[in-house]
Structure formats: structure tokens, C-alpha cells
């Protein structure tokens, strides 16, 4: 299909949000992404819906709007959110006193109700140590605060699928290689499939650039300028919750870091460094790992006793400012009409900056601008009330488990990812696959995998990882990747060679996240296991490196 009102480039949380909002307002929308949904900055985010407590020093309205939007996500996708309860330990040498910190939280309490949050609690040092005995004992006291946690890839996926349900077309693994022009006006994009097909053109009246760290590059294709100051951030990921409360941590340079029990994992991070490289090829360095661990150790001295499963890195598309320290850079966002005032790229609109918790508002502002440029009558935005897929009604997990004779851990996880659509998923599944666990680390079933492959815009094996989080535990896919690839191959009619290629690419990518956080015998053991797996499947020789998957099929 061609001749869209809007083509949105970039299917992170922002681009997906723009696509859904535009589609819900009746526009013909195409969402294009060079890799998978949510595979860039969104994938590497902390997975937090922050209400914006730090903005209380600058502008209470930003905090109010941020909390309000957090509440909208709770209303439209309640199954995805889980509370993250922070314990803010205050030490004698902390940057701010416990009284000052509590005043900030008293102010924040006023906004918590907007997002279904709870008021703060003040704990004495003894109480804090009773709650979390692993804390460094030289505490003055502690305060609690809460935010929402979310699987950022799942949220972005549901937003994109919501866009599709509203009529949008999704095109993943499709790279924009140029912009089309009709005279001076940008009139669409030239794209190339990364899965083997040739170049094609997608025409549209407006191109929305939601390319995240690639947004500057895309604007330049249209002869426009969009200055960003990209910042790289890493997270260390533990395969389980190593605490039951999140902790705020101060790094050696005074920056604030977080240790967050997040679903079945713990995230510690993030760093925040100016980045000048290619956002598609990111490495986690030993120095970055040490920086994060050193900070965390100050609050949780035993942190080094816990095994890190892997690490992630991503680049934030922060708006450009000269001189400011990276961490102080605003998380504000901008919607730029590159044709305004007779500038050189009419028909191109960029949205950049911002943070995940504001994605809905960013999308609303962008679509408002698109509506004006298209000269369409205003249609009210409904993304604050229209439920995301699975978010229509609460689900009785115990009842669902009983109805389908499913072990509770399976039902619980299914509801957490599919909400009120879990029942339909189970009803459509082959009975013997409903409880057939595919991955020993996450209770992902074959039924869920098939559902995802059929209905959640999955093109490659690694896409499945983002959709259902199989292989997210200790084995990181070494145990279950062949079975997942087999199921996917069955669904898609892949040749054995294509299955091998997908496994090779998947394991290579997962391996990339590991060596920096592993050492000694554990590293040697993993190298050995990896070598065995590769030789067993003849993976090393499968396909030419760099060739698109399917090229040999």
C-alpha cells in the first residue's frame, strides 16, 4: 500500500506512539523501523515510568503533566505496570540532608495520586536496615518513594500493535535510505528491506522523523538540521531480584544511579556519557561496569557477590546543549517542523528528546502538528483513554489458571504480558501447547510463542526475545534457542539453513552483552559451551557474516 498521510520513521516508544495516535485520529499511517520494534533506545531504557520528581526544583507543571501521563498508562495498560518502591538511603555525607529530601517527597506526594501512587514514608536507620539488611550501616535514615516499572519493549510493542489495529501498516527491518521529494516538498521515504527484498518507495504527505539517536541523520537526508547531543547509558542486569526495593545510589562523581528490582531481574545503572559513534554498534566497557558497581557497592556493600547475567547499552537522543554536564541535560522534547518559516524541508517533522514516561504526550503534540500541516480538521486525541491491546479489563489470574488447568506461574506471567487477551490466546492454542514450557528461565510456553509469531509482528528470532522475553534468565538462550527457532521455522516455513542462521545471529547478539560482565572460570565455561553449541549446529559456517538472513533459503 502506498499514498499514506503519514509515514513515521522509527518504531521505538515515541514513533509507535505517534503512529497509534495518528491512526486513531483517522490518518493513513505507515510505521517504518530499520530493525525490530523497540530495538534501539527503548530497549535499553530503565523501564521506568518516572513521574518527574526532579522537575520539582524547576517547574511543578512538568511534574504534574508527567504524573498525569503515568496515570494514563496505568489506565490504558494496567497489566503491564508494576510498582517499583524506592528506598532512598541518606548518609552523613549525602548531597542533601534527609529533611531537604523529605520536603521534595512531600511535594511529590501531591502528584502521586495522578498516577495511582502512594505517599512517601520516612524510616529511621534501624527501620531501613530491618527492611533491607544489606544496606551500608552508616545510614542517617531513609525515605521511600514509588514509581511504575514497565517492560519498555512490551509497552512499545502494544502501542505499535494498537496502531496496527487502528489501521496503521507496520514495516520492520526496513531501513530508510533516502527521502522522496515532490519539488521542494518531502513526499515520502525510499526504503530497503534488511531481510533481502529490494528498494521501494513509500509516499506520504508528511514524514515524521522519530529516529531517536538516528534522527539527526534522517533530518540531514532531507537537507534539514536536527542537533542532538546523544548520550550513552549502560545497565548491568542480574537474572533475578536481588533486593525487594529499588535503591538510589550516588556515583563517585556525584551522579545519581538506580538499582531497580524490575520484573524478574535487577537493573543497575545508568551511565550517561557523550557519544559520538554509531548507535547500532555499542559496547559495554570494563570501565563502565566498574563505575556502576563502585557506586552500587557504596549503598549495597555485598553487590559484588551477585552474579551479573549481562549488560545493555543504548543511546539517548538528548536535545543539544553546549557545556552542560551530560546528567544535567534536559529530558525535554521538541517537535520540529522542518518546513516552518520557509526552511528547506517542508513535509518533514521531527520529534526528539524526551523520556519514555512522556511518550504519549510527545506523540499527541507531534500529531497535533501533523494535523495542522495536513490542513485536517482537529480530531481529539484519545490515547489517554483508549486501552492498549489487553488493557480493557482486569483479569482474574487464579480463575484463568483454573479454567485452563494451567499452573499458576504460567497464568500469572501470561496475564502480565497479554492482559485480558490471555484467555483468547489460550483458547486458540493447541491443548498440549498451553502449558508446554519452552524456556526454563522464564515460564514462556509454546502457545505464547506461536501467538506472538502469528499476531505480534515478529520477523526474526531476536524479535521474539523482545516480545515475550524468553531466554531472559540464566541461560540467555543457550538452552532454548533451538526450540524457539524450530517453532518459528515451523510457523514461517523456514528452511533448516534459515533456522541455523537465526540461531547464530541470536546467540552472537546475546553473547555480545556478556563478556564484559563475566570473568574467570565462568567465562571459560561459557566460551566452551558456546563453542560446543556452534560446532554442533554448524553455526560458525552457516551463512556469510553480514549476509541478510534468508539469503541462502
Amino acid at each position: 500500500m502506498s499514498g499514506f498521510d503519514v509515514v513515521v520513521v522509527g518504531a521505538g516508544i515515541t514513533g509507535a506512539g505517534v503512529a497509534r495516535d495518528a491512526a486513531l485520529r483517522g490518518m493513513r499511517v505507515c510505521l517504518v523501523e530499520q530493525r525490530d520494534l523497540a530495538s534501539g533506545t527503548t530497549w535499553g531504557s530503565s523501564g521506568m515510568i518516572h513521574g518527574g520528581v526532579r522537575y520539582l526544583e524547576h517547574d511543578w507543571e512538568i511534574t504534574r503533566v508527567s504524573c498525569l501521563d503515568g496515570g494514563y498508562i496505568l489506565r490504558t495498560a494496567p497489566h503491564l505496570l508494576f510498582p517499583v518502591v524506592f528506598l532512598i538511603p541518606v548518609f552523613r555525607d549525602s548531597k542533601i540532608s534527609i529533611e531537604t529530601a523529605e520536603v521534595g517527597l512531600e511535594a511529590y506526594d501531591r502528584f502521586q495520586r495522578l498516577k495511582g501512587g502512594r505517599p512517601h514514608v520516612r524510616l529511621s536507620a534501624a527501620e531501613a536496615l530491618q527492611l533491607e539488611p544489606g544496606l551500608s550501616p552508616d545510614l542517617v535514615g531513609a525515605l521511600t518513594m514509588e514509581e511504575w516499572g514497565v517492560d519498555p519493549a512490551r509497552l512499545a510493542t502494544l502501542v505499535a500493535l494498537g496502531a496496527r489495529e487502528a489501521g496503521a501498516e507496520l514495516r520492520t527491518w526496513t531501513e530508510v535510505v533516502g527521502l522522496l521529494r515532490d519539488g521542494a516538498r518531502i513526499s515520502g521515504v525510499r526504503v530497503r528491506s534488511r531481510l533481502g527484498a529490494g528498494i521501494e518507495q513509500i509516499s506520504a504527505r508528511i514524514v515524521v522523523n522519530a529516529g531517536g539517536p538516528w534522527a539527526g541523520e534522517l533530518a540531514a537526508m532531507g537537507g534539514a538540521s536536527l542537533r542532538l547531543r546523544p548520550a550513552k547509558g549502560i545497565h548491568l542486569i542480574y537474572d533475578r531480584r536481588i533486593t525487594n526495593v529499588a535503591l538510589t545510589v550516588e556515583a563517585v562523581d556525584g551522579r545519581g544511579l538506580l538499582l531497580v528490582p524490575h520484573a524478574s531481574t535487577t537493573l543497575v545503572g545508568t551511565t550517561d556519557d557523550d557519544f559520538y559513534g554509531d548507535p547500532e554498534h555499542l559496547d559495554v566497557t570494563d570501565d563502565e561496569v566498574e563505575y556502576v558497581l563502585e557506586a552500587a557497592q557504596r549503598v549495597l556493600p555485598g553487590i559484588r557477590d551477585y552474579r551479573i547475567a549481562h549488560a545493555t547499552a543504548a543511546v539517548r537522543p538528548t536535545l543539544y546543549e553546549w557545556r552542560r554536564y551530560e546528567d544535567d541535560l534536559s529530558r525535554d522534547y521538541a517537535v520540529v517542523d522542518h518546513g516552518a518559516g520557509g526552511a528547506g524541508a517542508p513535509g518533514l517533522v521531527s520529534v526528539a528528546g524526551g523520556k519514555m514516561s512522556m511518550f504519549r504526550k510527545m506523540a499527541e503534540d507531534t500529531v497535533d502538528a501533523v494535523e495542522r500541516l495536513l490542513g485536517r480538521p482537529h480530531v481529539a486525541c484519545t490515547t489517554h483513554t483508549a486501552p492498549l491491546p489487553g488493557g480493557d479489563r482486569p483479569v482474574d489470574t487464579v480463575g484463568l489458571a483454573a479454567a485452563h488447568r494451567l499452573p499458576l506461574p504460567l497464568a500469572n506471567r501470561l496475564v502480565g504480558r497479554h492482559g485480558d487477551r490471555a484467555a483468547a490466546l489460550l483458547a486458540a492454542a493447541a491443548p498440549h501447547e498451553r502449558a508446554a514450557v519452552l524456556c526454563e528461565c522464564e515460564p514462556v510456553t509454546v502457545a505464547e510463542l506461536r501467538h506472538s509469531i502469528r499476531h505480534e509482528h515478529v520477523e526474526r528470532l531476536e524479535d521474539l526475545y523482545r516480545r515475550v522475553r524468553w531466554s531472559a534468565g540464566a541461560c540467555l538462550g543457550m538452552r532454548c534457542c533451538w526450540e524457539a527457532a524450530r517453532v518459528m521455522g515451523e510457523e514461517r516455513g523456514w528452511t533448516p539453513r534459515r533456522v541455523e542462521e537465526e540461531v547464530r545471529d541470536f546467540l552472537t547478539a546475546r553473547w555480545h552483552d556478556r563478556p564484559t560482565v563475566m570473568a574467570g572460570p565462568a567465562l571459560a565455561q561459557e566460551e566452551l559451551a558456546r563453542g560446543a553449541l556452534y560446532s554442533f549446529g554448524d553455526l560458525a559456517g552457516a551463512g556469510r557474516r553480514g549476509a541478510p538472513p534468508g539469503a541462502h533459503s
Binding site: 526544583e57 496515570g71 496505568l74 552474579r307 499458576l408
Partner: protein, 145 residues
Amino acid sequence: MKARAEALGRLAWLYARHVARRAVSRPAPGAGLRQFEALYSPERVTAITAEERRQLPRHGLCVACGLCNFAAAGAGYLRSERLPLQLTRHLPDLWAMRDLELTGLDLSAAAAVCPMGVPLPAMRDFVQARLARDGVSPPAPRALT
């Protein structure tokens, strides 16, 4: 600048009020923890004991080799390997283990073959203690007020 000035002004006023209030009234010992428990126990965000804290690093040692499954037969959904790998990763979700036959596995035999020294019997005790302490009902869903 106006928003910034207003924000700082409001915080200054709150600070003065806060200090005055703290000067005349201090919470009773233990009141903070009781308040925390009232807020978060229903969602299973509860305290970790000192003994659990000592034990937790070893819960994450499993490398998914699967040897323990050969040493101990499974009991329904429960297999010895699933205890460290899958079922105990998410503390607030332990309630979902309420129907599993935790005593139906020979976890001592499983632990005996574990190359990493995962304390499987101790993990079972950990789960049972937390279920007894925190309850086995699913957390109530949160809604906007």
C-alpha cells in the same frame, strides 16, 4: 525563570513548614516501618531478613546445566531446576507457587550434583517462609483514585 522561581518558593515554604512540624512532633519508633508494611505488604514488597540476605547471592548461581533434573524427579510443574531458574526470581510473585508441591522433590539429591552449589533445599525453605509470612493471595490490582 518564573516557573523556577515559583518552584523554589514553594519548596522553601514547604521546608519551613516541615522543620516546624518536625520540631513539635516526632513519629513513634517503628511507625515508619509499620506504615511501609501497611502500604506495600498487599503487593508483596516486604522486608528481607538478614538470613535471607546472606543466602540470596547463592540463589543466582544456577547456570542452567540441567543436571539436578536427572538427580531428582519432578513433582507436577515443579522441577528442581525451575526453583532457581524460574520460580524464585520475582519475589512479589512467589504467591503463584502456592499450589506447587514443594516437598515433593528430593532437593538434597538435586543439590548434591549441582556443580555451582545452588542451595536448593534452603531455597525451598526460603520460599515456604516467605509464603507463610507474606500470604498466598494475588496482589490486588492498583487503580487510579
